[in-house]
Structure formats: structure tokens, C-alpha cells
Amino acid sequence: MKISLDWLRDFVTWEGDAESLASLLTMAGINVEGREEFTIALPGVVVAHVRETARHPQADKLTLCQVWDGEQTLSVVCGAPNVRADQKVLLARPGAVLPGGAKIKVSRIRGVESQGMICSARELGLGGDEGGIMELPAAAPPGTAADALYGFRDQILDLEITPNRPDLLGHFGVAREIAALTGAMLTAPALWTPPKTSSERLEWSVEIESFADCPRYTAHLARGVKLGPAPDFMRNRLLAVGQRPINNVVDITNYVMLELGQPLHAFDRGKLSGTRLVVRRAGQEREFTALDGQTRHLDDDHLIIADSAGAVALAGIVGGSRSEVDASTQEVLLESAFFDPLVVRRGARKLGLVTDSSYRFEREADWNMVEKAAWRALHLLQQHAGARIVPDRVDRQNPDRESLPPIPLRIAQVNRLLGTEIETTEAVQLLQALDLTVVPLGQARNRKSGSANVMIEVPSFRRDLRAEVDLVEEIARLRGFDRLPTDPAARGARAVAPRALDKVRRRVRAHLSAVGYSEIVTSSFLAREDLERLGLADGDARRNCLSVRNARLEGETLLRTTLLPSLLRILRHNLNADLDCPLRLFQLNRVFWPGARGAVEPSRPQEDQLPAEPLFLQLAVAGRTESTPAGLPAGLWEVKGVVETLGGLIGWSLEARPGDSEPYGALGRQWRLEEAGSGPVGWAGELDGAVLAGFGIEAPVCVAEVDLTSLPAVLPSLAVRPFSRFPAVKRDLSLLVPDGVTFAELAAVIRERGGDCLESLELFDYYRGKGIPAGAAALGIRLKFRSAKGNLKGTTVDKSLALVTEELAARFGAQLRA
């Protein structure tokens, strides 16, 4: 909220400049978001006297004026309808620059020279147009600089008012806070005072349908109102805090709202029907034309103010155009009320209409300010709109409204929370500075004071103070947080063990970044088209996404069930950036599977509406096109190898089972990853070219992904095994293997027949093509034998080897190559 320091000085004084005030407020919890200067300066604009007027020879609507500016007579063309001889006006001389940036020059208008411009209030940034140029009082001396009359300098602070402090939504409230912080005197604004006796009756009644919706409603009548511009000080201050001046009556209601925080509404009494206002729910009324001229649709929930012809205002939100104050207004019925915060908030939300008024009512009005604000406005109407106030008035209040009970304050609890040793007297003094009242314990209405040292009564403008902790905060705030102690022996200092999942995560990230993969962080959202592009079948569970119903983002409104689209989007971005391929990326992110959440303790009623949130590891190689030394596609074997290595490090016993399980995988180039005891936990493979093309990617991409939450989060417990120090014996097998026989099958047989001394086997060559019969492949497998007991003899090894080759030939028809 913008605060004018000029305005603030009506109520309080402080030491130092705007900056020190800003820092005082900031340290009291009122954050200053901005500081600016506000100036109305009109260089080159002076008071001038229109001596003669004549019709412009070429244009009916233009007037040729002879104007005396205190030094010389200038000839000026004017287009305003209200210009006439012997009038005092504001003249912009050649060289003047108007607030909008327009520079005034001697110019020819329809063939006649004009040596300046007679200005309207709008052109000078002093208000709206009231039928043309601004007319000054006849006594204004020509030649006087406009700055002397209308110039204004002010400093503005933009305050961030937290939702718990509606009392700060007016200048007076901020002044009251400054007074509490500095001990300065607070000056109250001048109010209308009702005369003791009067026989004049208001002749208006107010009926409140439900005191729950509207606990208090006051109405006052001002007669003989003379509409016109508001006084300069008021217009300047309104402009300074970003409000557009309209006319004296409307400006006064806005002014009082910005001053005291209480929204008011002025009805044109002459336009109201009947003599009774009703505060009620809209009921059957469905349409309402607001002051802005727009017709809005109501529903039953809207609270309205109605006369005998229907709604004249949306309670606490906006007035209606039917009873708008305008130039014909003579009598003003002034509303000042207390509307229920929730009712106003829901009404405003439904209309999508947040006004200065609704903003304040939603945060809760100040009960006692309802009448004071009305009286403040009545005083200003008397002063600046010539109004006569009818002493009789309406003030309907909920008779059952309960005042808040005093709050017990235990000084021990203050010190327990703050770590201080504050005395009761100091705490009480601090609270009293905020207009809080200490109730002697004997008189406390609340017998539940328990071990309280004092009972504190809260004024009507601090309804945010409801419990003891709120008072503790006020004490800490006023005392200054910097004066609170820092406990050097802070709690903590308990040894704690990291969780297993965090250890797994740490190891995964360390390993992948060390072998060339870069970690990415991607959005949790995906678009419906992404699911189509992946080619997921109709029944695929991943098509069942939670969707965000009020997203502001375009298109991306689903919570992802797979990480793949986000990965591909980042890959495309990087592939388009001419970086050196292959690109290697990985991510550890959550996906969201509706209805798959397991039991949680304790379970709340709606807990089953939450999705499961498994944590997926996904890694990808893109643009790797070469082959391994064994002649295999390098990218595909890389992702398989990385997952296998990682599994070994973390203690998973992952098995990669060949099989085309994913629609987005290339045929014959996919594995399902399974974990003994956990079932399927992931997938690895090459992505289908058409799917990639759908995401705008031409390079080959190989991916592996693992659901970390479905794997045991237990790192392997290491136990060192003895190892043989005897030399190894190596033998290479060169095999011709018929198609259809897999390496896994061969390896199983080799392990089975190789004997206890077979230490390892390794594929070092894989070849098909020239020199190899069709329907077969050549495999080179290196076997390493070692004994724990002694040197192995070549003949022993050869015997094992013979057993292996025999079995391979018998079972698979695999032949030794010459």
C-alpha cells in the first residue's frame, strides 16, 4: 500500500528522513517495498487573464483569445467550450512541458498563430476534465507560477501489509504504529460531532437480514451538498498514492478509506427508491450494474444493499450505477458498515472483482472505526462540500456480538519462547504502547487465566491478536529481535544417521556424474500431446494423469506419469545447440501415479486421493552412432552397461530381460529390468525413430530408467573375500554360433561346465558377415581360470575347456572356428 509522508505528518512526527522511517518500519515487520518521490511541477505554466475572445476565422469550434500572462498579451487558440472573456485560466507558455510530456510551441492552428495553450485540469495532471479548461478564482493574480498554486512534493513509501494487519491499511494506522514504536504523540483527525439535541429526523430505516453477514451498519444523511472538485490538498494526496480524483464527495469517501482503513459508500439519496435499505443475500436478483458501468451476474451468495427497487450496492465490494453520485446530487446517504470478511471475500472472488473496499473488508474491518470513519467523512463533507449533516442517524448492531475475552499472558512462557529474561513490567509497558490494556487479574472476565501474570485486553483494531503467542510476538517485535539472545549452546548436537535412500541417491549421482552424465532438473508437468507422441496404448496406466484444474501455464496441465517427455525436451534443446555428441544426461525425479499410493500412517480421510510418487532414475545417451569394438551399437550397450555397473555398486541384482515392452522403444532393442524379489523395476533400450521425430529429435537416443522406490534401499554390506594369489590361465574360445542362440545361454553353459576354477568370462569379439556362414555369428570369448590352491596346469584347464566346447556343440550346435 502506498503511504504519503505528507499525509502521515497530519497524525505523527518522527525523527530523520524517509529512509530512516523506512528502516524503522522494516524492522517492525512492515516491509518497505519501494520509495518514490511524487511531484506535481508545472514549469512554464502561469495564471493568465482572458481579455478578449473572438471566433476563429476558419473553425467554428475554436476560439481566438487575447490572454494577459502578467507580462505580455499573447494570442492563443483554444478549443474548449467553456472559454470566455474575463476568465482566469492556466496558460502553458511556449517552452512549457506538460506532465504527459507534450512540449508547448508557438504553432499555427487552422492558419492562425497560437502562442501557447490554455489548459484543462487533465492536461496538467491535476484531475479530470470538468467540461473543458480549468477556471481559477477571479482573484488569482496573472503571472503567478502554477507551481505556487498547484505544485506539490511528497515522498511515498510502498508498504507490504501482511494479511494479519488490516489496521495498517490506512495512514492513521501506520501513524499509530510509528507512535507505538517511537513513543511519539498521536494526533487524531477532526470528526463531525452530533449535536446534543435535534428534532430533525433521518426518515430512513435499515434492515439487516442476518447479523452474521453484516454485524453493523450505519447510515448518515448529508444535505445541500455542492458537487465540485475536492480541495487541492486532498486531490494531491490521492494522486500521490495512485488514486484518480473524481469529485469532492467520492474523493472524500476514498480519502477517508485511505486515511482510516474503513471503506465507505456514498449513495445519491435522490436516486434511491423508498425510505428503507435492506442488507440481504441477492436471492432472486441476478443482475447488477456496478459503478464501472459493467453488468455483473449475481448468485444467492452475494450480499447486497437494496432499496425498494432492488440492489444499489454489492456489500463491501462496489456501489451501483443507479445511485451514483454525480453533478445533480444534492443529498448523500453515507454508508459505513462492518461486513463479514468471508462473505465479502467469496462474493468478490466469484465476480473476479477485487476492490480497495473488498480487500479491506476481507481482512476484517475495525468495529469502532465504523462510526469514526463516517464522522470523519461527514466533517470533510461539511468543510469541503458545503454539506449540512442531519443529526439523526441509523446505527444497527448485532446485539449478541461478543467482545473478545482478555488474553492471559504468562511471563514464563514469553521467556521460554524467546530465550529471554524479561520482567513482567517491561512486557506490560511494551504492550501498552500498542494501546493494549492490562486488566487487573481480579477483574478478568476470563477465569481460565491459570498461572497468568497479567490479562491483556486487545483493542478493536488488533483482532489479529488472539492468543498468548501473538502477544509474545508483539513483545519481541517492539523490543527488537536484535536485542534477543543467541543461545551459543543451541540444541541439536545429536548424531544422526543418513537414510538409506539418501545414501543410494548420493552414490547414484556421484557415479553418473563421474562417468560423463550431466544431471538435469525437469518440470513435473507434461502435456496431453506428449502421451500421444509416446504412443502409449489406450489402456496404459500412464495415460491416467492427475490434472491441475486452475493452471496458468498454457497446455501443460498434467502431472507427469513418466519422465520421458521432459527428458526429450531437454535433449532436443541441447541437440539443437551444436554441442559435441554424444550427449549424456540423467535425472532423479518424481512421477505421479494416481490411485497407487500405499497405506500411510496416520491416514487422513482424503489421503487416498493422493498419488503414489515414485522416484525414478533416468539416464540417456543421445547421438552416439558408432559401434563397440565387438561390433554392437555403442549407445545401446552403454546404457545397459551403466545400469549394470550402477546396480553392482548399489547392491541391486538387476537382470535385463530382452523383450519389446514399451511402445516408444525400437523393436528388438529393449530390455525389461527386473530385480530378484521385486519384479520389474525399469526399462532400458533404444527409442523408436518415429517417436523421437515426434519430439523433434533426429539423433538416436538410448535410455535406461529405474524406479528407485521399488528397489531395496539398502547398500550392500561389504565383507572382504580372500583372493587367490596364484597365476591365472587364459583361453580364448572362437565360436561359430547359429542364430537364435543367445550369449546368456552360452555363458550359462560355460559357467556350468567350466569348473570351480573358472574365474571370469568376457566377450571380446562379435562378428557376422563376410567369411562367416549365413545364419551364424562369430563370437570371441575369453575365459580366465585360477585356482585358490595352487598353480593350475595347462592340461587341467584344457580338460575343462573340452567339457565346455563339447556341451556347447551338443546343446547349441556351436562350433569351434579353425
Binding site: T162, V472, D482, G492, S518, V521, N550, P602, Q606, Q609
Partner: protein, 343 residues
């Protein structure tokens, strides 16, 4: 052929012979001094050009300068030749770039900061917990003392999946979830992704990261919070950084504060980094509100505790001078690879 021309031709022939004959660096250097040095015949001739008749001056000057350039080039070429000849045949070019076994990858800067902060609190006895991204409105707001339909909810534009379910706007809901399961004393740290239904710009993302921390025991006080925060700042940002507590409002803490740290760029005098205030806001914090304890099912007044929340993105931006939050989510490898050394 003029006298000068003959002299130049002779000089050139002799010089080329001498350069060609130089068999090592030292003789070549001696040749350079003799041919181009201050006392060399060529330098003398050049000095004499200004005394020649005007008609010859230009031609002679040009020819001498050409000779000088040619000799310098010849010397350089011979030097390269000698260096090459000095290398044994088939030797490896040792200036070739090294070949590490694998290219380097990198960790994401946001998660580097997140893990580092978790480690610091871990060393102070905080255990790590997690909460769901998709959260009940109850835990995100109601249990944290946000009244239903209250303006305090406006400060956090929320993505809703249904009336009861939203994307968490803060990591704070974990407070109640953890307290429901555990009995104090407890000190926890909860990192995670949070969501705000806001337009994205250089300093706002609709998805970002926070860390929630809280500590609950019989008599935890604001003094403990100050000490804990100061220790964190000392370790993470470096010892001696001043902090201040500024009153603020959060529904789930009372008293509530924002924690500011003295700006490192200007040392507190005010600069563009800190918006000329001399202070940088690093976290929100406060004493856990009794209503939050009540939501967790703790007896009134049985415990006190503090809680704090840090924005990881902002801290990463401060630490590395990142001026646009969107860089973290664009995942351009030219950005990410700059963090290869960050752990």
C-alpha cells in the same frame, strides 16, 4: 645494376649462406646479431640512406628493408628447422590434449546447493525427511493455521488438483506430517520441490526448491533458532556474516521473522545485488504456532519449537551470480557444465 644493387645482392648471398650453415641454436643466434644487429652492415646501410641523393633514396630504402624482412624470415625458418631436426624421429607430440578415460559429467547446481545445505544441518543433528509433492490442502494450509478461505492463502497462488488436493506451495506441510508420526525431541530437514501458480520471469519459477527445517523439544526458544541460523550461515556463506531477524507474518509461526544476511557484494552499504538495502533475505522462520502443535496432536504447552524455510534457487543464484532463475530449468549443457567442479 647500381652500386647499391650489387652491394645488396652480395649481402643477401652471404647472409643466406651463413643462415643455412648454422647448425645449432647458438650459431644461429650469432648469425642474427651479425646480420641484423646494430653493428651489422645492413643496419649501417639503412642508416646511410638518408644521405643518398633524393632520387635514389626511395629505391634503396625499399630494397634494404625488403632484405631485412627476408633475412628475419629466413632466420625464423632455420630456427624451426633446427628445432624439428633436434627431435628424435617418430617422437610423440607431447602438446596433444590429455585423454581422460571418460568425459566429465556434472551435478545440477540446485541439487548441489540442496545437498550441501542438508549436509550442514545433518551435521547439527537434523534428520532428513520427505513429503509428497501432491499434498492435501489440509496439510498445506489448514494444519498450518491458514484459516479456510483466508486472505493469507492469496500470497501463495496454488495449483489445485481437486478441492482437497493441491501441489504443495511450500515444504512446511512436512512439519505436521512428521510430528504426527514422531514424538519430540525432533530436528528435521525436509528438502523438496514446491509449486506456485505464477507467471515465470527472471526471478520467479512456477516450480522451485525449498528446504524446511524444524526443531521441537520441551523448551526450544528463539535464541536456539538464532544460534542455529547463525551456524548455518557461518558454514555455508563463510564465517562472520552478520544476520538480522526482521518481524514478518506467517500463519504457522508466531513470532514470525524473515532472516536477512549482510550483503557480501557491498558489505552492507547497499548495491544492486541487495536492492540498495545492504541486506539479503535468505529465509523465513519463527516459533511454531500452538495451533500447528494442536493439529499434530501434541498437548498444549507441552513443547516449543522453531521452523524455517529456505529457497534453494535464490541461494544458488546468490552463490554463483546467476541472474535468471530460468537458467536452472532450461538445462542447457553450456550452463550445466560450468558446474562440473561443484559438489
Amino acid at each position: 645494376m647500381s652500386v647499391m644493387d650489387e652491394q645488396i645482392a652480395r649481402l643477401r648471398a652471404a647472409a643466406e649462406a651463413r643462415i643455412g650453415a648454422a647448425a645449432d641454436g647458438a650459431t644461429l643466434e650469432a648469425a642474427r646479431v651479425a646480420l641484423l644487429g646494430r653493428r651489422s652492415e645492413l643496419t649501417q646501410l639503412l642508416r646511410g640512406v638518408k644521405d643518398l641523393p633524393e632520387a635514389e633514396r626511395r629505391v634503396a630504402g625499399d630494397a634494404l628493408n625488403r632484405l631485412k624482412t627476408d633475412l628475419a624470415a629466413g632466420l625464423a625458418e632455420r630456427e624451426r628447422g633446427l628445432a624439428l631436426a633436434a627431435r628424435p624421429a617418430g617422437a610423440v607430440d607431447l602438446t596433444l590434449p590429455g585423454a581422460p578415460p571418460v568425459p566429465l559429467g556434472s551435478l545440477h547446481p540446485l541439487l548441489v546447493v540442496l545437498e550441501e545445505i542438508c549436509d550442514i544441518f545433518h551435521s547439527m543433528g537434523f534428520t532428513r525427511e520427505e513429503g509428497p509433492d501432491v499434498e492435501l490442502d489440509y496439510y498445506n494450509f489448514t494444519a498450518l493455521n491458514f484459516p479456510d478461505d483466508h486472505p493469507a492463502r492469496d500470497s501463495q497462488d496454488t495449483f489445485y488438483v481437486s478441492d482437497a488436493v493441491c501441489l504443495r506451495t511450500q515444504t512446511s506441510p512436512a512439519q505436521v506430517r512428521v510430528m504426527e508420526r514422531r514424538t519430540p525431541p525432533l530436528s528435521c530437514i525436509v528438502p523438496g520441490r514446491v509449486y506456485r501458480n505464477e507467471a515465470t520471469d527472471a526471478s520467479h519459477a512456477s516450480e522451485f526448491f525449498q528446504i524446511e527445517g524444524f526443531s521441537v523439544d520441551r523448551d526450544v526458544s528463539l535464541a536456539d533458532l538464532r544460534a542455529t541460523v547463525q551456524q548455518f550461515v557461518d558454514v555455508f556463506f563463510g564465517a562472520g556474516r552478520k544476520i538480522r531477524f526482521r518481524p514478518h507474518y506467517f500463519p504457522f509461526t508466531e513470532p514470525s521473522v524473515e532472516v536477512d544476511m549482510a550483503c557480501a557484494s557491498c558489505g552492507g552499504s547497499g548495491c544492486a545485488v541487495c536492492g540498495r538495502t545492504g541486506w539479503l533475505e535468505i529465509m523465513g522462520a519463527g516459533m511454531i504456532h500452538p495451533n500447528v502443535f494442536a493439529a499434530a496432536g501434541y498437548a498444549p504447552d507441552a513443547y516449543t519449537g522453531y521452523a524455517f524455510g529456505l529457497g534453494i534457487d535464490r541461494i544458488a543464484m546468490l552463490r554463483w551470480g546467476v541472474d535468471d532463475i530460468r537458467l536452472f530449468y532450461e538445462n542447457d549443457l553450456r550452463f550445466l557444465h560450468q558446474f562440473r567442479g561443484a559438489w
